[in-house]
Symmetry: C2
Subunit: 190 residues, 2 copies
Amino acid sequence: MQLLKDRILTDGQVETGGVLKVDGFLNHRIDVCLLEEIGKEFRRIFEGEGITKILTIEASGIAIAVETARFFRIPVVFAKKNQSINIAGDVFATKVESFTHGKTYDVVVSKKFLSPEDNILIIDDFLANGSALLGLVSLVRDSGASLAGAGIVIEKAFQSGGDIVRGLGVRVESLARILDMSGGEIVFAD
Amino acid sequence: MQLLKDRILTDGQVETGGVLKVDGFLNHRIDVCLLEEIGKEFRRIFEGEGITKILTIEASGIAIAVETARFFRIPVVFAKKNQSINIAGDVFATKVESFTHGKTYDVVVSKKFLSPEDNILIIDDFLANGSALLGLVSLVRDSGASLAGAGIVIEKAFQSGGDIVRGLGVRVESLARILDMSGGEIVFAD
């Protein structure tokens, strides 16, 4: 998606430790006009797949999932990182290691919101080591729902997550795939 | 907002301890069609105020803020509950006590995303004891930005948050104000 790649080149910042900061438009300050184009693009890629629900994980996946779901006219379910008293005990649960925060979270989805009748599209902002996406895939499989695929905004293709998840037979579509940014410059896959 | 009140009566669940569960349409599973109507209603209430940015707090405020910002064609900034390595050190910070989770969070916004030129609309899902909203108001005041007001989806008017924040001179507009639910039945303000 050229609009997104241009924006990453203009406003993204490569930091030490393999961190790409896109907090100016994607995951702290959100450009809703760009988000709308991202939602449209995911609709274009996955339309005709009979998707019934979008699954994402809090917090930065939510905005993208909602703007995508709007084009499909289907609900969003977001997995929660910490079980709260507002979630019933009846949950699908997994563990996700956060690269950004350096810790492991319990991730839960209420059982009543994923069912074998569902055909799920997973949406997230980043795919790097694949921990969050593997967690979401495992929640979908636990529920018995079908998995249509995963739509990722930015994939760090120099990390192993994409290969691992595709190796499980999951269709993963990324709007911007970064091959390399080790020299401080961002090189996209095409 | 009648559509919202009807939905709360149909799908909301009153639990012990003053908890209203709306996880079926607002803060776990999200009905994007309802969200769109909520966004439109906030636009109707606050249009003409010259709002430049919407501020919310992760996680359940994000979807509502994005769907509201879309109608204003302005960006969203969401305050983060835990400082991560992806946020620069240069932040406005405050503390927020979570009624739902029973703990206190550090809440931060990067200084580069709030400025004295901004006129901010705060958006959140719930207003109960007011802790989250007071935190967001304090972040706006620290930044020197103007505060146009706060748009709340559900206000528990039997708790003190609404009075406290309005007492600070902040315009607070809630789409559904609950006067009482102590008997298990929800009574709205009008």
